[in-house]
Symmetry: C2
């Protein structure tokens, strides 16, 4: 039989104007067009002003499920894709859209590791004053999150998990997109968020992904319906790229747990790893942990998933894995054994309730802003983070308080920074005479 | 009485991100914000990619009538505003969104001049292959359209009219906007078109403006409803800036008149200035001419407006004024007296009807493209325009033709350019067995 030559369909580069107008008019891009946009973004052929206009057109006209999947895949393929096939264990990652006081990753990664699940976690930096997992880990002396891909993979093979900074070699097209999106009001576009998150996450080599989509005043997604849409968009694209994906839509209308800060949150995470700690965090860890072990195939039924998670938290194996991770990344494990070693703030004062009543709402974004002002975040590159500052013993929505009773404790080192922060903390709390019904912690499960 | 100090409200510069997000979310800009956008565009403070995103957000979210008026005024005030108050005559300008075969300005300006109306007309260049008034005038040897504002004003004072190239000193902010709009798919935004056109037109010093908004396959506005909206937007803004404004929404679903080309259209204009020429052009000249003399206050009633226009066309005074204008701008008047002096094409051939029937539709944009390919337009800067080429004796929509009968005559100098042009001409015509009803020439009057 003679070999037939199949004529390659030639892709004729369209003008950038044509592409902008096509999306502006609500039409769907082809795979070739999306690849061309990504390529031209990477090599700088597409001028920034035209890409900016295109991103805004995408914001308004959206992208179809298929376009979003292609965008994600092409962005992923713009850089290195880590191959973890040599590690013969289930590999599941977890992603959260980000929330105030959310220290679940610090608990879930060791928990999954203890369950025999490999978690190749790369994280981004702070956004909207929300302290990132990396910034929290930085409060542990010596701990490094900026490691090579080789070291990352070998750590995964050795101890099942790693929490490191996003490698620039993964999905570099996303970095270019993201930089421009920040300056053009196009951050909140669902297909662009989906492409941005999943292109990086799926390049990390995991077979599955548990996604925590947060909605509320402490999330960049204020609208529940939008959060549900994002959860659907992400799981759909994940599936179309042959990854197991589950998303939980969860509440971010008040800080998670009892504390917000870097070391303060590490301490809370250590408590949670011992099966202790605040109720809401315990619930979230349980729910997300169950998804991870089920997605990994470690547990089949809901019951066995629950038992697996609870066992690893109570028998000390999750905490042990956290210590292994800290040690592997060069951190001082004695801080985990003895959390009292973490630096303490010079001053601790209460935020007094201005009247009696029930905590009706807490604006989590304002809490984050206040903690940032105390020194937990960087105002500019080069600033030193103050790991001692933050807030603790947060009175949550629905709690009854008397006048003057503490709504929370403020940890600070610098009197001059207190005043501005205090303004945010005060404004964040609203008290009401009647007990409110707090929204459910997990609103929806999308699989 | 002591003089009270009124505290000036201070405008705190917002971030460009804030402005983009504000418009993205459909909110209205304040006067200070629009002025700040214009200022930052002019001095280059606002990065191109942020302005591009803003323009696309405006495309989708529109601008209110008030915002559009402010935009227009601020763009106008970004440059020189010509003061014609020394000229004690009514000053009315005319603007068309552009159409194929549209030579009305060449007739209307002298007609208005003859009626005692001053017409300070500045024109832009070719767009979408539509030959501009300036390109047509360039077929008259010696005629200059690139003159100083001083010479422009003194010519107006002397002979009532001038047709010159847009001065860069007028509305320079618009030039910056326009350059970016061309590359970002934001040309068809109604408020941006309104601002762009009126900021320049109203800087020319006229007291009133007659606007011809064309809709159809030969206009950049394909949709009648959009054309009506633009007409309303422009007259509304014109009025809010205390100018008399009338807009006619007219048909551009086939070429206007009998010919398309540079010298060919000048010849048709000369015929029209003698009260002759094709019917549709005569009608359009009459309708627009009547609007000009009424807006100028030269004629009160419809009847007297009609008589004024017709008198100046039949008594030779309009033609005389055209010669004065040509002479004032350095052109060779003998070409107007004897149009046979214009260069003729080496070859003239017919476009034969492929079958018998009625001309059902003519795609005017394709005719323009074909004429452009024959050499009537510039492919790139520096190219020489061929003033002899074009098409004439165009069979209009509704005309009955036999097979092989000419649909039009093609004037060309270069065999090698004919083939591609011919493809456009053939494709432009659609014949049908039944006589179609052509759309009305003037669809709506907006005042």
């Amino acid at each position: 039989m003679t070999k037939r030559t199949i004529p390659q369909r030639r892709f004729i580069k369209p003008s950038f104007n044509y592409l902008i107008e096509k999306k502006r008019d609500g039409q769907e891009f082809t795979q070739e067009e999306i690849r061309y946009i990504i390529d031209s973004t990477l090599d700088g052929e597409m001028p920034q002003h035209q890409l900016a206009a295109l991103l805004m057109a995408i914001y308004f006209q959206q992208m179809s499920a298929q376009e979003t999947a292609i965008l994600t895949e092409e962005m992923m393929l713009s850089g290195e894709v880590i191959d973890l096939s040599e590690i013969a264990k289930p590999k599941i990652d977890k992603y959260s859209t980000g929330g105030v006081g959310d220290k679940t990753s610090l608990v879930l990664v060791p928990l999954a590791m203890a369950s025999g699940v490999v978690v190749p976690m790369m994280c981004g930096g702070e956004h909207d004053y929300v302290i990132s997992t990396l910034q929290k880990l930085a409060s542990i002396p010596g701990l490094k999150t900026d490691i090579s891909i080789e070291a990352f993979v070998s750590q995964l093979a050795k101890i099942n998990g790693a929490i490191v900074a996003q490698s620039e070699d993964l999905a570099p097209a996303d970095a270019k997109f993201h930089e421009l999106r920040k300056e053009t009001g196009t951050i909140p576009s669902l297909p662009l968020i989906t492409g941005s998150v999943l292109s990086k996450k799926l390049a990390e080599g995991s077979e599955g992904l548990v996604i925590d989509v947060k909605w509320g005043n402490g999330s960049f997604i204020k609208d529940l319906e939008q959060a549900k849409q994002l959860a659907r968009s992400m799981t759909r694209v994940g599936r179309s790229m042959k990854r197991r994906c589950v998303a939980l839509v969860t509440d971010m209308n008040q800080p998670l747990g009892d504390s917000v800060g870097t070391a303060l949150e590490i301490k809370e995470a250590i408590a949670l790893l011992k099966g202790e700690g605040p109720e809401d965090m315990q619930e979230l860890v349980l729910k997300l942990g169950m998804e991870i072990v089920r997605l990994a195939g470690v547990a089949g039924s809901t019951l066995s998933a629950k038992q697996t998670v609870q066992r690893h938290l109570t028998d000390g194996s999750a905490l042990e894995k956290f210590k292994e991770l800290v040690k592997a990344q060069g951190g001082d494990v004695s801080f985990i054994d003895n959390p009292d070693k973490f630096p303490k703030a010079k001053y601790i004062r209460k935020l007094p309730a201005p009247k009696r009543g029930y905590v009706h709402t807490i604006n989590a974004a304002m809490i984050a802003r206040g903690v940032h002002l105390l020194g937990a975040g960087k105002e500019k590159a080069g600033d030193k983070v103050d790991h001692a500052v933050g807030v603790s013993e947060i009175k949550k929505v629905g709690t009854q308080v008397k006048q003057g009773e503490p709504l929370m404790m403020i940890h600070y080192n610098d009197e001059s920074k207190l005043e501005a922060a205090l303004g945010y903390f005060k404004d964040a709390y609203r008290l009401a005479p009647k007990r409110p019904t707090p929204p459910p912690l997990v609103v929806e499960r999308v699989a």
